[in-house]
């Protein structure tokens, strides 16, 4: 049986009791807008709320699945490249409504897709959240090294943070397919 990792400990962030909600900001903080998930976690930390464990990470697949062990609910905040949406726009969707790679390691040279990792984790008896939601921030590019966000993505940080707080307080997207979040 897999036990919970030590949530929040990695970056010294305060966290709630295991078994509750974890908010994971994903990305690489030295790849410009790619690190927006981390900035949203910083914003949430500054709000001084006590409703969830906060975690910043740049992992995927199995490692990301392992971060979620022991929690009832997870919210993952991540940068998204979506050519059909304006940079800086924000949306919320349940994981099940996000089209990901098929559950096959063949689609990746280095890790399993998150849904496959979660399914495998459950098959191995891991206690994983039944409710996983994604807050995505659309970025134009995440392939240039730098520690600054672009202005338009920086402006989306409080919007995404508010979306996370709304999710934490039980506000649900209006449709199972998710919805855009407006400032």
């Amino acid at each position: 049986m897999i036990s919970a990792v030590e949530p929040g400990a990695a970056y010294g962030l305060r966290f709630a009791e295991p078994g509750h909600t974890i908010v994971v900001g994903l990305g690489n903080p030295i790849l410009g807008d790619d690190g927006v998930g981390w900035r949203v976690i910083d914003e949430l930390d500054a709000l001084d709320h006590e409703e969830a464990s906060l975690q910043q990470a740049c992992v995927g697949g199995v490692s990301l699945m392992e971060l979620l062990v022991g929690y009832r609910r997870a919210i993952i905040v991540d940068a998204i490249i979506d050519p059909t949406a304006a940079p800086g726009s924000v949306w919320r969707r349940p994981l099940t409504a996000v089209e990901t790679r098929v559950a096959s390691h063949l689609d990746s040279t280095h890790d399993a897709p998150l849904p496959a990792a979660i399914e495998a984790g459950r098959a191995m008896g891991a206690d994983l959240p039944s409710d996983i939601e994604i807050v995505g921030i659309v970025i134009e590019r995440g392939d240039v090294f730098g520690e600054q966000l672009s202005d338009i993505v920086a402006a989306a940080v409080p919007v995404a943070a508010a979306a996370v707080v709304g999710a934490l307080r039980g506000l649900r997207p209006s449709s199972p397919q998710g919805e855009p979040v407006h400032a």
């Binding site: 990792v5 740049c58 697949g61 199995v62 490249i81 949406a85 063949l106 990746s108 040279t109």
Partner: protein
């Protein structure tokens, strides 16, 4: 619905593109394996204190931050010309070998294992981690997760964080470990060795399957290249420190050198169709993407490391090494089949686990003497480790205040770029003939070819997180597209 993935993979701007050009007869003339690029890492580092580099460079890649952390710490040691105390060095090695346990376990069971455990002919939908868990049993899946947890816990104890360690600094480590922490690592180490033994036994049983034996020994992914890797003072495989040894395809020693002299031995060839440069052996020369003793193409990572060394550094790994060569190359000449890399990786897993066990039982491992404070004027330094995916070199230049003025990195996968491109080409040729393209197996064979190398194109192009969608375009000689196969 708009096609979006939360896997970081789709946040890469480009795809790993494979262009196959057919000649007039419809046979493969060239295969180009292209990789997208991220820009500006070296410029990003310039102007920073060199002691920041171990923390900064481990953000280059989400797959092997520990390797970059160690190479950077060693380069910073060299910049200050400072010698790390024995306990500081042991702690670094302990952390690094624990990382190897997590990394090699993940690759075998999550990435490459499915091809072998499920068999190459199993439906694609079953050749994944779920299929593995169903086939070998939930309890085996639990062993894999436990091995990863154990490795991550050791990294956290010594490195300060479970991922992205932060305790390596010029001259050593920022903290020692307590006796309680040592005792915890001892228990974890015993489990690691047991897990490595289980994995080697599992591999033995898999070799009875003819299809798997064909992958490990067969010709499809065989290339007669040179091999390169670090060896210790006893000519054994080492991951943290040693000299670079290079052998020819027939096993003759080409040379052995200090990592800081890499520019005397390695050159990089720029090709107009890819962002990534092809390293080759300078003293042999560039002959293109071809194998043989006249071509400077060389292979690193597990296959290369076992081919250059005269053995493993620990007893159980040595036993497995002897069985490996007795099976694949009784005369002891290099093993050329890329499929054998999976076996070599498990032998390295055993060495890493045994090394963790040996180091944690050293009486001085809890000594507080973990760092020598640098006192000399900083200048220039090279730090090299064996990353799981090959020899990783960090080279920094600084001003007299230790501020970085120039950076050069040669990462593990970059060394293997040529052989990977050759394997992709060979797979393409096996399924394309006289204009007939066997599209059904093409993507699988190409992927199985390069997956044996465990490539990290994230590192190679300084991207995160090293995952890659794939597009194969088949064109005629004039460049007109005939067919496009995608796996997003």
């Amino acid at each position: 619905m708009t096609r979006i993935s939360i896997d970081p993979v789709t946040r890469l701007e480009g795809h790993g593109k494979i262009e196959i050009i057919l000649d007039d007869a419809g046979d493969v003339e060239h295969t180009y394996f292209q990789i997208p690029e991220l820009r500006g890492f070296e410029a990003f580092c310039v102007g920073r204190p060199v002691e920041d580099m171990p923390a900064l460079t481990n953000r280059i890649c989400g797959v092997c931050p520990e390797a970059h952390h160690m190479a950077a710490a060693k380069a910073a040691d060299a910049v200050y010309n400072v010698t790390v105390p024995r306990t500081g060095r042991m702690l670094r090695e302990l952390l690094y070998n624990a990382f190897y346990v997590t990394d090699h376990a993940t690759h075998f069971y999550v990435l490459s294992g499915p091809d072998l455990i499920m068999g190459p002919d199993a439906p694609k939908s079953e050749r994944n981690i779920l299929g593995v868990v169903k086939k070998v049993g939930v309890e085996v899946g639990g062993k894999v997760i436990d091995a990863r947890k154990a490795g991550h816990r050791v990294i956290e104890i010594i490195g300060g964080r479970r991922i992205h360690p932060c305790t390596g600094v010029p001259g050593g480590m920022t903290k020692a470990i307590s006796e309680e922490e040592r005792d915890e690592i001892k228990a974890l180490a015993d489990g690691m060795v047991e897990f490595a033994g289980f994995s080697l036994d599992l591999f033995d049983s898999m070799l009875a399957d003819e299809a798997i034996e064909e992958i490990v020994k067969g010709d499809l992914y065989t290339h007669q290249t040179y091999y390169s890797g670090l060896v210790d003072e006893n000519d054994k495989v080492t991951f943290y420190d040693g000299q670079v040894k290079v052998v020819a395809p027939d096993g003759e020693i080409h040379g052995q050198y200090e990592p800081k002299d890499y520019r005397d031995w390695i050159s990089e060839k720029v090709e107009p169709w890819t962002f990534l440069k092809f390293p080759y052996l300078k003293k042999v020369g560039w002959k293109g993407l071809v194998d043989g003793k006249d071509s400077g193409m060389y292979t690193v990572a597990p296959l290369g490391r076992l081919n250059v060394a005269s053995g493993m550094a620990t007893p159980k790994a040595q036993e497995a090494y002897e069985k490996y060569f007795a099976t694949l190359s009784p005369k002891g000449t290099p093993v050329h089949s890329r499929g054998a890399t999976h076996w070599a990786r498990l032998i390295e897993l055993m060495q890493a686990a045994e090394t963790v066990q040996a180091l944690v039982n050293d009486p001085e491992i809890t000594s507080p003497d973990v760092r020598a404070i640098p006192t000399q004027t900083p200048t220039e330094g090279v730090g090299t480790v064996e990353a799981p995916r090959g020899t990783l070199t960090h080279h920094y230049w600084t001003d007299e205040n230790g501020v970085v003025t120039r950076v050069n990195l040669i990462v593990g996968t970059t060394n293997n770029y040529g052989p990977i491109a050759m394997s992709v080409d060979k797979a393409a040729r096996s399924l394309i003939s006289k204009g007939t393209v066997v599209t059904e197996g093409l993507l699988d064979r190409i992927e199985m070819g390069f997956r044996a190398y465990d490539p990290c194109f994230g590192c190679a192009t300084h991207t995160m997180p090293g995952q890659m969608p794939m597009v194969v375009t088949i064109r005629d000689r004039d460049g007109n597209p005939l067919e496009e196969l995608r796996r997003d």
